[in-house]
């Protein structure tokens, strides 16, 4: 059972209160963008073994979207953070540097 801390209502919500929202930190490419950018935005996703960043929604709860950093290999949750950001915050990076030295994800490290 996956348990994620909702940064908005402070509940440690278990999986059945949550809804998975796919990969985090996508840049949206819409009308007027190149075909390659649009294809990347629509279809190209990371499928890492290890550190991953995801969007989750506290659907059966406060209703807010938030971000989670976790390990797809061990299911360890490194932390959750605000939805109002385009990349993982410093405190999450600190935890990752300690627990998964040398981690990479897309162009982040």
């Amino acid at each position: 059972m996956l348990i994620l801390h909702c940064p908005y209502c402070g509940i440690d919500a278990e999986e059945t209160e949550l809804h998975a929202g796919g990969e985090a930190h996508l840049t949206r490419f819409g009308p007027g963008s190149s075909d390659d950018d649009f294809e990347g935005y629509l279809f190209m996703r990371e499928n890492p073994r290890g550190v991953h960043f995801e969007r989750w929604r506290h659907a059966n709860g406060c209703g807010k979207w938030f971000h989670a950093a976790r390990c797809t290999n061990t299911l360890e949750v490194f932390g959750t953070y605000s939805a109002q950001t385009t990349e993982p915050p410093e405190e999450i990076r600190k935890i990752l540097a300690k627990k998964r030295p040398g981690w990479t994800w897309r162009d982040l490290k």
């Binding site: 402070g10 919500a13 059966n60 209703g63």
Partner: protein
């Protein structure tokens, strides 16, 4: 004007707890910045109760405020006074960026009374119902089996559950089954 009725006509069930459909309850959903002093003031003016902190419920005799999310509150007022309360709220909010809607007839509300009230909720929702972990003055939005719902405690033996009116029958049946006298767990 149509005659307003409870979703299930006032159903009740006696088991581990006394389960009953609550009388019609005025409910106003308010979306606004709850940390804004002007919003807090407007809530106080409309309900007579102070806006509680995160996951708080301040309710007295069917009148009060529930914390629903950082930018959402549920205001409880007597059913007959909901239009007046909404007008008052809208007026005192003035130019503050906010949305307030009367949702009384979109909701169903049930009350559980008895020493086993915690246990009945614990069977259905993924919430720690141990004394100390959940107490009067708190509100929790969660799910009950397959439907979304919220609840708060009036006292140690009284819990109020609110859900969408469209799932009132499901919620009532669910709470009834969880209150079956033969299903006591006596955990708490």
């Amino acid at each position: 004007m149509s005659e307003a009725v409870q979703p299930l006509g006032g159903s009740a069930f006696d088991g581990l707890v006394h389960l009953s459909e609550a009388p019609l309850q005025g409910m106003i959903t308010l979306r606004a910045d709850l940390s804004d002093a002007a919003v807090k003031k407007a809530i106080k003016a409309a309900t007579g109760q102070t806006m509680p902190d995160i996951r708080g419920a301040s309710v007295q005799e069917g009148q009060g405020v529930l914390w629903m999310s950082p930018d959402e509150a549920m205001l409880l007022v007597p059913y007959a006074e909901v239009d007046a309360a909404l007008a008052k709220l809208t007026k005192s909010l003035g130019k503050v960026h906010a949305l307030a809607v009367n949702v009384s007839d979109a909701r169903a509300m049930f009350s559980l009374r008895g020493p086993a009230a915690r246990e009945v909720i614990a069977k259905l929702a993924p919430v720690d119902m141990a004394p100390g972990a959940f107490e009067p003055g708190m509100v929790r939005r969660t799910r009950f089996a397959q439907v979304a719902g919220a609840f708060w405690m009036e006292d140690q033996e009284t819990i109020h559950v609110v859900c969408f009116r469209s799932v009132a029958r499901y919620m009532f049946d669910l709470l009834s089954v969880a209150s079956d006298p033969a299903s006591a767990v006596d955990f708490f």
